[in-house]
Symmetry: C2
Subunit: 481 residues, 2 copies
């Protein structure tokens, strides 16, 4: 019965190789992670998806606090005149802003933007709050919703409204701002790899791809199973660009009025899309244990037999006491149905317990990632399971890393380049010119993802993979979400 059930179940999810986009949507919708709403481009994050976000938030927030940041909350609405003060920034964001023009029955004299990001409103407040070098650095973060009017949207990956965190800091010098920018890029990488089990490339964005108004944008980029890139988070050194636009100044030790140097950095619910596309398989979601709402699901076998439900309940209590997020599926569905259901939902470990197991004082553990089955003594599950979950984390990470490495090529010549970006990343010397970048994109669909920070293409005498001019950077190219 398990088999038939299984087939019936998984046929609802498209296979990754046949239609990756449909597979993704199936996984999101059938797992109740998100749903479309009545508002074009806005999604509902359903409880199973939101629980993943809560776990991400907790673990990221702890990292922000450990690095000295505090949370605050700034207004949703930004007067148009305020948004306009940093020229590059406006140009980048104005086309995708939603505008409030009426408040109650009153027609507003000035349009208000729903924040697409908050540099402008936060900069205005920093200008008021920061007086002296003693006030620096200012290290704040906020968790909030933002809105960017998007034409085509996909749950988690690109929606008009999304949830994110945005850090905003102000410093006395360029160097301190740069240090903060890199520190937070490091925090992001640590989070992606050690919590989400997603290996990320970190590097710098081209001028075209950088944040509107930034001096320099650094990014972490992950490879999805279809070979495409997902930008998972960015950290910007804004230098004194916003300080000049928003008049953020301080009185130095030497008694001089100086501009501050600011940074901003952000990650969003988009990372949930990354988790799905990096780890999932044809049976559905595969969740990394540290963000799995349930890490272990207990499925009683022959639940009607004496002692089974009692043992299952006792196990639930044991696992919870060990700090695990555990669930007992005591519904009246068949065991086979439950297996499929919780596989689709990506729970890292299934624990089966039946009359035979109880006799032998053991349980069956089934890993979601490899489908491996093992027996484990009931005694000591509070230690066995955390170790198994750590092992799953490492396996997921290694599998994703191997996939990225298998689909990343150092290419010579544009033909090899064009080939490489069809199914992954191409790494190649690049001239740094916008025109060249645009042409590559037009011809291949690939964009610049990030360039190595510690490689001086000039010193190596490299030439640009496309135009043949003297190369400046060693750049990763790829098609991107």
């Amino acid at each position: 019965m398990g088999k038939n059930n299984n087939e019936e179940f998984v046929q609802h999810i498209a296979s990754r190789t046949e239609d990756f986009a449909k597979w993704y949507t199936d996984v999101v919708l059938k797992n109740d992670m998100a749903d479309y709403s009545e508002v074009k481009g806005c999604m509902v994050i359903k409880p199973y998806g939101y629980a993943i976000w809560e776990l991400m938030q907790q673990q990221m927030d702890q990292r922000f606090k450990d690095t000295g940041h505090v949370n605050a909350y700034f207004p949703l609405l930004i007067p148009e005149s305020l948004l306009m003060k940093e020229a590059e920034h406006v140009e980048g964001f104005a086309p995708e802003v939603a505008w409030v023009t009426q408040g109650g029955t009153e027609q507003l004299t000035e349009r208000l933007a729903i924040r697409p990001t908050s540099e402008t409103i936060i900069g205005t407040m920093y200008s008021k709050w920061i007086q002296s070098y003693r006030d620096l650095p200012v290290l704040m973060n906020q968790w909030c919703n933002v809105m960017r009017w998007e034409k085509s949207t996909r749950p988690f990956l690109r929606t008009s409204e999304f949830l994110w965190q945005e850090g905003h800091t102000a410093h006395a010098t360029f160097d301190e701002a740069q240090e903060e920018t890199m520190r937070m890029l490091g925090v992001y990488k640590d989070f992606a790899e050690n919590v989400l089990a997603i290996p990320v490339l970190t590097g710098r964005k081209s001028e075209k791809e950088k944040f509107a108004g930034a001096y320099a944008t650094y990014t972490m980029e992950a490879m999805m199973q279809d070979g495409k890139a997902l930008q998972m988070g960015t950290s910007h050194n804004l230098a004194d660009n916003f300080a000049k636009g928003y008049d953020i100044m301080y009185l130095s030790k030497e008694g001089k009025q100086e501009y501050c140097y600011t940074t901003s950095w952000g990650t969003s619910t988009r990372m949930i899309g990354g988790v799905i596309m990096v780890h999932g398989d044809d049976r559905g979601l595969v969740l990394p244990p540290r963000v799995a709402p349930y890490q272990v699901v207990i499925v009683p076998i022959a639940a009607h037999k004496e002692g089974v439900m009692e043992q299952a309940k006792a196990l639930l209590a044991t696992l919870k006491a060990a700090g695990l997020r555990a669930k007992l599926d005591d519904s009246d569905q068949s065991a086979g149905w439950k297996f499929n259901q919780w596989e689709m939902k990506g729970v890292p470990v299934r624990l089966e317990v039946g009359p035979k197991d109880i006799e032998n004082r053991q349980v069956v553990l089934v890993r979601r990632d490899t489908h491996e089955k093992q027996f484990a003594p009931i005694e000591g599950l509070g230690q066995t399971l955390p170790a198994l979950l750590d092992d799953i984390h490492v396996s997921l990470f290694n599998r994703a890393l191997a996939n990225r490495e298998a689909h990343t090529q150092d290419v010579e010549g544009f033909e090899a380049f064009t080939q490489a970006v069809q199914g992954g990343f191409a790494r190649a010397p690049w001239c740094g010119e916008r025109a060249c970048e645009d042409e590559i994109k037009a011809l291949t669909g690939a964009s610049t993802r990030c360039y190595l920070l510690d490689y001086d293409a000039g010193a190596h005498g490299d030439n640009c993979v496309f135009c043949g001019k003297k190369a400046k950077h060693m750049m990763y190219f790829g098609k991107a979400y």
Copy 2:
């Protein structure tokens, strides 16, 4: 020195008796809890204020989860046509809605409301998600921002944008919805009393004061130190009103299509205003320990003397290890300045440690609420302090309760009534008529706050305190924020 410093410091805060409104604003602004923004009616919640909100969130969220609720996230924007489906609801909220009319460069064909509350959008989703009695109950909550276009605003108490949580549930029967409504009112009361140390009256709202579209609204009301009421949270039984408006139906066990019964319930950052006005004194904020960002501040005395800073740091480590939120003030300000600073910021306990104390293996503990000083052995502070904090919690609660009881009068006749509502609550039989309620408000400034659930005024043969008609309810009246 301490004294002079003290006077200089506290003179910046208005006294409560002279100008309670100015005292409130002083406490908010001088403690960096919130600030005004460039957008009329919108405030910035600064880190010290936001840290209190985070502690509130954590402890409330745990209570929601313990009662079976899950979190989700619904869109910020609501199409006008959707908002219009429940007639009473629209009438109540339309005048204070902010409208989005442009997205990017495009003029929208339909206006989008920024959510003033989310019954309409959530109801629409529930209509889609709920099919059968097996899907019920649905028990969801969301933490988000909402917007109500307000003319006059005050930080935390009334702002156009504010942060809140809104619970939305759907049930098979009216009775189950009623049970949920009362359960969450109980959760709120438990939270207010056991976390915020604020005693609250719970009861039912008049028809005039109930939530637009609700069948019945229940509320918790607290008395501020100026005798005014603050509505701290509400829980609504929506009966099948929204189910009919938004087509939320289920197939019953008997195979019949039935309307669901829904509830909603909310609390907001407004509670921070309540904490300030219930507990604060002329030196500033007095924080209840369970939401104090710092529960204990360590002030080293003669910090330059040998061993003092080392001991202070060791104490910090001890307190943190005991799970306390502790701060060591190692700035180069004078001890007197620090005393005043942390008193103003409302930290429940100040711990002083100097050379003499170290010799005697003791510290000085000073309670923020009573200013009582006591010596305590260094050994065992990990137990002494939590007990002291619990004691402070109880004291704060009792003081607030005594204040409310001293300013609540059972009144006979309208003269006594008018007197009573000048400085507190009047409790009196009331007819339940809207016209009578409006006239009382016009004459005295007092509104109906809530009526007792277990008192049948009719059975007692009471007459309305104002119009003399047969009374229906035993009602609390008061002026309100």
